[in-house]
């Protein structure tokens, strides 16, 4: 791998570790000022908004099993299984694609089957 790809790897791994231990400041440090996120359930152009609610997510994560990591100079993909404590969700197979520039993440596309989450969300009383 090139030195740039090494740096991309360090940034993406730092983000991943921080996210799953619920460390918002550490995760925020890996994100660029201009940042975009999307997933089957939400989208955001704001790093702070993206990391809000991380506590709630981490609370339902039992462990994360990394299946594969691939790094290039300006991009990376992680594939992993999130073992959750929510029976209807169970193990969430996830792919996460990153764009990285100057050692910071500019774009995240999270891909997973959101089917069980619709059941979960219907069970939560709406304000």
């Amino acid at each position: 791998m090139s030195a740039t790809a090494d740096r991309t790897r360090d940034t993406v791994r730092a983000y991943h570790r921080a996210r799953f231990r619920g460390d918002v400041p550490a995760a925020a440090r890996t994100l660029a000022d201009r940042f975009h996120f999307d997933s089957p359930l939400m989208a955001s152009d704001d790093a702070e908004q993206h990391l809000a609610g991380l506590d709630m997510f981490v609370a339902i994560v039992e462990r994360v099993e990394v299946i594969s990591e691939l790094f290039a100079d300006d991009r990376a993909t992680l594939v992993y299984d999130v073992h959750t404590t929510i029976p209807v969700v169970g193990i969430q197979r996830t792919a996460e694609h990153f764009r990285v520039s100057d050692g910071r993440i500019t774009d995240i596309r999270l891909i997973f089957d959101a089917t069980p989450w619709h059941t979960v969300m219907r069970a939560i009383p709406q304000p």
Copy 2:
């Protein structure tokens, strides 16, 4: 990239092209004898079974927009949007993770949000 990663790239691209033009024999040539596939909707340990029904899938694909490709010696990830002709499905963001050995694909994990497909399947009369 190493020569092995180059070969992995050629194999994965050949599979991807063959799949989206519905060319079952060409796709089959890229798959190893021992092969595993899983997706949110199905799993298979058989290359022939995996490729059965490809015609039906290709019929609803308008075009494929590749977002990112990443290749290593023994693995690869493609991220792409499948533009479908089914309004309720629309554009299907997809990640596809491959394991490759000796120039043939041994394992595919397809990741996408299957939510709209449950609606489609409910609309199909069951025999």
